[in-house]
Symmetry: C2
Subunit: 126 residues, 2 copies
């Protein structure tokens, strides 16, 4: 598979894939002419990288954790890193849930004020 196809299948840009390689996150074989070639498994790997990025991990951290995700083997240090990232994500979830609940309360209050007409509705009805 070449880079364009991988980009489509993984839902990222070609530029992103080259960036991942630059960061050591995604290896690529090369054809004699220098074009990158990826195995099918690369799709899952890219998706995983995206998932970790979305969770707020940096390239460097992902680079440290990726091997042990695939080998299920980690040094105590890496294990500690894993646990710390897990806890961070957990805390982030808790915070986000609180924010969501707060927004829900605001939405409920604002909706009520609209339906009850207890606020001046000078906004356009169109």
């Amino acid at each position: 598979m070449r880079i364009g196809e991988l980009a489509v299948k993984a839902g990222v840009s070609v530029r992103a894939l080259r960036y991942y390689e630059e960061q050591g996150l995604l290896g690529a074989a090369r054809t004699p002419s220098g074009q990158r070639t990826y195995p099918d498994g690369a799709v899952d790997r890219v998706v995983l990288v995206q998932q970790l990025y979305a969770a707020g991990l940096s390239s460097r951290r992902i680079l440290e954790l990726l091997p042990c995700v695939y080998t299920s083997y980690a040094t105590p240090q890496t294990l500690a890193l894993l646990a710390s990232e897990r806890d961070r994500i957990d805390a982030q979830i808790t915070g986000l849930a609180a924010t969501r609940d707060r927004l829900d309360a605001v939405i409920a209050a604002a909706t009520a004020s609209v339906t009850d007409g207890c606020a001046p509705n000078h906004y356009p009805e169109s």
Copy 2:
């Protein structure tokens, strides 16, 4: 309250507070000599802003939503914005939970491989 005290109480930097003012998120009265003065309520406001930043909202979006958080009144457009941000946060929570679960699985597998000695433990015991 002056800016330094507010910064400490809200747990942010002085620079951040000036930035919030620049973005229109935080008003400030001025002493005749030009120093910013904040009421006690500013602490909560700053904390709220921080919470929204942490949820991935931009300054612009926060600026649009802050008034209706305090007035509990919103135009339909603003209400739609609120709902869309809420849903985005909800989706983010779902994704983060999946990532956390994946990390949990990795941690479990790696811990097992260590305790079972089923992997070469050539890492330093110190």
